[in-house]
C-alpha cells in the first residue's frame, strides 16, 4: 500500500518542480518574499508576459538588480535536521522507516529548503479510524480530512525555462524552450463523502476519481519587436510583439476514470467490488514527427514619469498540431483482472492548446517609495500581488499582500540594506507551497548586485 502513495507523491512532487502553480510558486528572492510575491521591477518574470517591457530603459524603474543570489539558510536548517551522513536511514527518504511520511517528502519538494522555515505548514498524521463489518465500511481520517480536496485539484504550469532572444534596434530574434503541464483530479461525490465526511460506504455505488493530464514541451524560434511608439523617455507608450513557431518535441495526455462499484453487500464473496477503469491516453514520442503551431505575445506599457502601467497577453492562439500521435483506449478487464488496451490507433493527428496568459501590472515610484501591483491569469489560475518598498538612506522597508492560485491570502514584510552596488535583503513571508490548508512562514535572505 505504500508504493502507490509514494509513487503518486513523487510524481506530484516532480511535476510540482516543473510547475510552480501550487500556492504562490517558488521565490528565490528575499525582496519578492518581503512583498508576498509582488514585483517592483520589469525583469524577466514580467517580460515573459509582456514583451513591451523589453523596450523600457532599466533606469526608468530603480532597484532593478542585475543578479540576485538567494541566501540558502534553509539548507543549513535542513542539513541540521537531516544530516547527509544519515540520509540512508533518514525517515524522510526511507519508505521502509516507521517515520516515513510521503506528504512530508512532497512538501519538501514543493517548498525546497532554500529559505529558513520559521513555521512549517503542519503535516497531517495518520490518526485514522476504520469501522469494518460484513456490510459496513467507514473511515474517519481525522485531521487528514482537511487535505482531501473537495474541488478539482492538481498542478499545472506553462513556462519558458530558456529564452535567448538578442535585440537589435528593438527587433529581437532567437529561440525559447517551452513547457506545459496540467494534472487534474476530481473525486466523485460518493468518494468525497466517504473520505472527507466519513460517510459509510453504500451499496451499488461508484467510488472513483476522474483524472486528466497533459504534458508537452519543445522549442520555439521567435521573432519580435519592442519599442516606444509614442512620446519620450519621460512619457510614452511602449509596444511589444513576438511571434513564435512552436516545435513540439514530446507530448502525452491521459483522460479517464478509475474507481470501484460496490455490490449488494459491502463485503460479499471473493470479489466484493467491481473495479472500473476507463482511460484514453495519447502520446507523441521523441522521434515521431514533431508537433508544430504558431502563436504570439503582445503587450503595451504606458510610462508617465514615475508610473508604469502594462498589460500583456502571451501564447495567443498557440495551438500545437501533433501529426503522429498514438491513442490507446484502456479499461479494466474483470476476467483477466488487469487493465487492458482494447483499442489503439496510430499516426493520428492531435491538437493541444497552450494556455493564454494575461498580466496587468503597475509600478509607481516616487521619492524613495515604490508601489507595485499585478494581476496574473496564466490560464490555470489567477494571482494578485500588491507590494510597497520605502527607501530611507541605505535602508529599504518592504511589505506586501497577495492572493495565490489556491485563493489564499499571503503576507510578507522585510528589510534591505544597500551598500554601493550590493544589497542584502531579508524578508518574512507566508506561503502555501505544501499539502496543507494552513500556511507556512519562512525567512528569506538574498544578495543582489546592481
Amino acid at each position: 500500500m505504500r508504493l502507490p502513495a509514494v509513487t503518486l507523491g513523487t510524481a506530484v512532487a516532480v511535476l510540482g518542480m516543473a510547475s510552480p502553480a501550487l500556492g504562490q510558486g517558488l521565490m528565490f528572492n528575499a525582496r519578492a518574499a518581503s512583498m508576498a510575491g509582488a514585483s517592483l521591477t520589469l525583469g524577466g518574470s514580467v517580460q515573459r508576459y509582456n514583451p513591451a517591457y523589453r523596450a523600457i530603459p532599466r533606469h526608468q524603474i530603480p532597484g532593478q538588480s542585475k543578479i540576485t543570489i538567494p541566501g540558502p539558510i534553509g539548507l543549513i536548517q535542513f542539513l541540521e535536521q537531516h544530516p547527509i551522513s544519515r540520509l540512508s536511514s533518514d525517515p524522510m527518504f526511507n519508505p521502509d522507516s516507521a517515520g516515513f511520511n510521503p506528504i512530508a517528502l512532497v512538501d519538501l519538494i514543493l517548498n525546497p529548503p532554500i529559505f529558513y522555515e520559521l513555521r512549517p505548514a503542519p503535516l497531517p498524521n495518520n490518526d485514522v479510524a476504520f469501522g469494518i463489518g460484513k456490510d459496513s465500511l467507514s473511515v474517519n481520517l481525522g485531521a487528514t480530512q482537511h487535505i482531501i480536496p473537495a474541488d478539482e485539484f492538481g498542478i499545472a504550469g506553462s513556462s519558458r525555462p530558456l529564452d535567448i532572444e538578442p535585440s537589435f534596434h528593438g527587433f529581437h530574434a532567437g529561440i525559447m524552450m517551452w513547457l506545459h503541464d496540467e494534472v487534474r483530479f476530481q473525486l466523485n461525490d460518493s468518494l468525497l463523502a466517504f473520505l472527507k465526511e466519513g460517510h459509510p460506504a453504500e451499496h451499488n455505488t461508484v467510488y472513483g476519481i476522474q483524472d486528466s493530464a497533459i504534458a508537452e514541451g519543445g522549442v520555439a524560434p521567435s521573432i519580435g519587436y519592442s519599442g516606444r511608439i509614442y512620446g519620450d523617455d519621460n512619457r510614452g507608450l511602449y509596444f511589444g510583439v513576438s511571434a513564435h513557431y512552436y516545435i513540439g518535441a514530446v507530448y502525452g495526455t491521459s483522460v479517464g476514470f478509475a474507481g470501484i462499484t460496490t455490490g449488494d453487500t459491502i463485503f460479499a464473496g471473493p470479489n466484493p467490488v467491481t473495479p472500473s477503469v476507463n482511460d484514453v491516453t495519447g502520446y507523441s514520442r521523441w522521434g515521431n514527427r514533431a508537433g508544430h503551431g504558431y502563436g504570439g505575445d503582445v503587450g503595451f506599457a504606458w510610462v508617465s514619469g514615475p508610473l508604469v502601467i502594462g498589460f500583456g497577453v502571451s501564447d495567443i492562439g498557440a495551438t500545437i498540431t501533433w501529426p503522429d500521435t498514438r491513442i490507446d483506449s484502456q479499461r479494466y478487464d474483470t476476467t483477466a483482472n488487469r487493465i487492458s488496451t482494447y483499442s489503439s490507433v496510430i499516426h493520428v493527428e492531435s491538437k493541444t492548446k497552450l494556455p493564454t496568459s494575461y498580466l496587468a501590472n503597475l509600478i509607481y515610484n516616487l521619492d524613495g517609495t515604490t508601489i507595485g501591483a499585478d494581476v496574473l491569469d496564466n490560464g490555470l489560475g489567477t494571482t494578485l500581488h500588491v507590494g510597497v518598498e520605502q527607501r530611507i538612506g541605505i535602508l529599504a522597508l518592504r511589505g506586501g499582500i497577495g492572493r495565490d492560485e489556491r485563493k489564499l491570502v499571503q503576507f510578507g514584510a522585510g528589510v534591505g540594506i544597500r551598500i554601493g552596488p550590493m544589497s542584502l535583503d531579508a524578508g518574512v513571508g507566508t506561503h502555501s507551497n505544501a499539502l496543507s490548508d494552513q500556511r507556512g512562514m519562512l525567512l528569506a535572505t538574498s544578495l543582489s548586485i546592481y
Binding site: R2, S97, N126, G133, V273, P275
Partner: protein, 185 residues
C-alpha cells in the same frame, strides 16, 4: 474476502493518511459469522462422560493488506455468547482460537482465554457469557500483521448430572478493536 475493497480504499486513504500516528480498526467479526453455521455450536453431553469439547470449523478473516510492516499496539476483544440450554444441567465454557492458518487454530497456544469464560446451565434457559480481553498477548498481536487470520470457536461442556445435557452455544456479538501504530501505509 474484503482485501480488495480495503486495498482500493486504502490507496485513497493512504494518499492522505501516511505518516506517524495511529490507525484504529473496529471490526465487527460477528457480522461475518452471523447467520451461518459458524456462529452456533450445538452441544450434547451424555451423563458419565465428564467433559466434552465441540468445535466449529475454522473461519478465515481477511485483514488489511500492507499492515504487515506495522506495529500492533492493542487488540481488544469484546463479545457475548448465549448458552441456550435445552435439557440437563452442567457447565459450558467458551473458547476462541486465533492462528495464522487453519491448522494453527487447533494448537493450545491459539486459545485467547485462560481460563475460558463459562456459565452454569440448568434446564431450558439461556445464560449469557461475556467475552472480554482488554489486550491480547504480544504473540497473538503479531497475527494481525498478517493479511489474514483464522478463527475457531469451541465450547467445552461438563455434565456431572444423570441426564443428557443438550443445547447450543450461539455467538451474539464479537468485536475486535485493533490499534496499529506508526506506519500503516
Amino acid at each position: 474476502m474484503f482485501s480488495k475493497w480495503l486495498g482500493v480504499t486504502l490507496v485513497c486513504a493512504g494518499l492522505a493518511a501516511c505518516g506517524t500516528g495511529h490507525a484504529t480498526f473496529d471490526v465487527d467479526v460477528y457480522s461475518w459469522l452471523e447467520g451461518s453455521t459458524n456462529d452456533t455450536i450445538p452441544y450434547g453431553a451424555p451423563p458419565g462422560l465428564g467433559t466434552v469439547t465441540i468445535s466449529n470449523a475454522p473461519q478465515k478473516l481477511d485483514l488489511l493488506p500492507g499492515a504487515g510492516s506495522s506495529f500492533v499496539d492493542t487488540v481488544r476483544i469484546n463479545g457475548t455468547m448465549d448458552a441456550r440450554n435445552a435439557t440437563g444441567s452442567g457447565s459450558i465454557a467458551f473458547q476462541v482460537y486465533l492462528a495464522a492458518d487453519s491448522a494453527g487454530t487447533y494448537a493450545p497456544g491459539a486459545a485467547l482465554f485462560n481460563p475460558p469464560p463459562s456459565a452454569n446451565v440448568s434446564g431450558a434457559n439461556t445464560s449469557v457469557i461475556t467475552l472480554t480481553i482488554p489486550n491480547l498477548s504480544q504473540t497473538l498481536d503479531s497475527l494481525f500483521t498478517n493479511s489474514q487470520v483464522w478463527i475457531r470457536l469451541a465450547a467445552t461442556v461438563s455434565n456431572p448430572g444423570v441426564s443428557l445435557l443438550q443445547g447450543k452455544a450461539v455467538l451474539t456479538s464479537l468485536n475486535l478493536h485493533l490499534v496499529v501504530s506508526e506506519k500503516v501505509f
